[in-house]
Each structure stands twice: as structure tokens, then as C-alpha cells.
């Protein structure tokens, strides 16, 4: 037909507005903006990632999972984000499975340690904390102590506290 629909707003305008919503933690509005961007550019990596992160930050974990599953593209860190959502839903085995498809780094190891903790696998959990020790992660000692206590190693806690 000869009738043209009105042109969509330029992507850069939409990203500018999206950024404003992110900066002010207006995550519902941020999600709406990402939907507008994805309606124009369905495979836009930045928009896809922003959408998933905004949903997670808004505690909409189920919606974040749907967004990941229905995404036309698999982004580098989608397995990590998916694993995090599954962890929040207490689907721990699925979460570990998803995490194993992601390249290991500090973030994936932190999440893995939290999943192992919930699974009661304290030895494996403490192994990861050993590896994370040199990364100097804020407040990590709180989780390390918890894993020691739950792993029946309360006697090691005093030494740990002394070394802080």
C-alpha cells in the first residue's frame, strides 16, 4: 500500500529516555522503553540486556526468565542472568546447570557459591570462597562465615574473624 506508517522515534532518542529511567531507578518505565526499542529492533543486544536487568531489579524474576527464553538472541551473559532468576525461584539444580554454560568469573562464582550454600554443599561452597579470596569482594566474609557455621566448622570462624 502507499500509506506509510508514521516513522518510529529514532533509537537514540529512545535510548536517551531509557537511560534516564535507569538512572532514576524507574524500572517499569525502563522496561516499557526497551519494549519500544525491541519493537523496532528485535535483536538489539543492549535493549535485550537492559530489559532483563530492569525486570530483575524490579523483582519481576518470572518475567525476566520469559524475556530470556523468548529472546531472538542468546547474549553472552544470558546464562548467568537466567541462573540468577532460577536461584531466586529456588530452582537450584536448574540454576547450576545454566551457570555451567557460562564462562567462569567472579560474578558466576559468587552466584555458584550461593546456590551451593542453599543446596547444603558447604565443602564445594567453601572451595569457591577460597578462589574468590584474592578478589576482595565487599562483605564476602559474611557468607564465608555462614558457610563455615553451616558446614560444622564453627571453630574456624574465630580464626577467620581474627584475620579480617
Amino acid at each position: 500500500s502507499s500509506q506509510q506508517p508514521p516513522p518510529p522515534p529514532p533509537l537514540e532518542d529512545l535510548f536517551t529516555t531509557l537511560n534516564r529511567h535507569i538512572q532514576s531507578s524507574a524500572f517499569d518505565n525502563a522496561v516499557k522503553l526497551t519494549d519500544q526499542i525491541l519493537a523496532i529492533a528485535p535483536e538489539d543486544e543492549d535493549a535485550l540486556r537492559c530489559k532483563v536487568v530492569a525486570l530483575i531489579k524490579n523483582d519481576r524474576v518470572e518475567d525476566a526468565l520469559s524475556a530470556i527464553r523468548s529472546s531472538p538472541r542468546t547474549l553472552d551473559d544470558f546464562h548467568f542472568l537466567k541462573a540468577y532468576c532460577l536461584y531466586r525461584q529456588n530452582k537450584l539444580d536448574e540454576a547450576l546447570e545454566s551457570l555451567q554454560r557460562q564462562e567462569r568469573n567472579d560474578e558466576t562464582m559468587l552466584l555458584e557459591s550461593q546456590i551451593l550454600y542453599r543446596l547444603g554443599k558447604m565443602d564445594a561452597c567453601l572451595d569457591i570462597y577460597q578462589k574468590l579470596q584474592k578478589s576482595k569482594i565487599d562483605s564476602l566474609e559474611i557468607n564465608v562465615i555462614a558457610a563455615h557455621v553451616m558446614g560444622g566448622r564453627s571453630s574456624a570462624v574465630q580464626g577467620l574473624l581474627d584475620s579480617l
Binding site: 529514532p10 537511560n19 537492559c50 536487568v53 567472579d106
Partner: protein
């Protein structure tokens, strides 16, 4: 009666530190360039 108080075991606190690793990508480069970036002195006045 009443029954004596009993100590109950409490699970230690665990923080969700993985949450901090969930960050928005940098979208600065996707945004409209601001005036300062686009031109110099003149465009700041007339742009």
C-alpha cells in the same frame, strides 16, 4: 506452665552478593550525543 524458654538454632545470615553483579550495560554510545560532544564553542552557543 508456661514452658521454659528454649534456645533455637538460627541460620547464619547470607547476603545475596550475586545481585550486585547484575548491571545494566553501558548505553552511553547509543544515546543522542550532547551538544558539547558534537561541536565546539560556536555550537554551544548557536546549536
Amino acid at each position: 506452665f508456661p514452658p521454659p524458654f528454649q534456645a533455637i538454632s538460627r541460620n547464619p545470615i547470607v547476603l545475596d552478593l550475586a545481585y550486585n553483579g547484575i548491571e545494566f550495560p553501558s548505553i552511553e554510545s547509543r544515546m543522542k550525543k550532547d551538544r558539547k560532544a558534537k561541536g565546539g564553542f560556536m555550537s554551544r552557543i548557536f546549536g
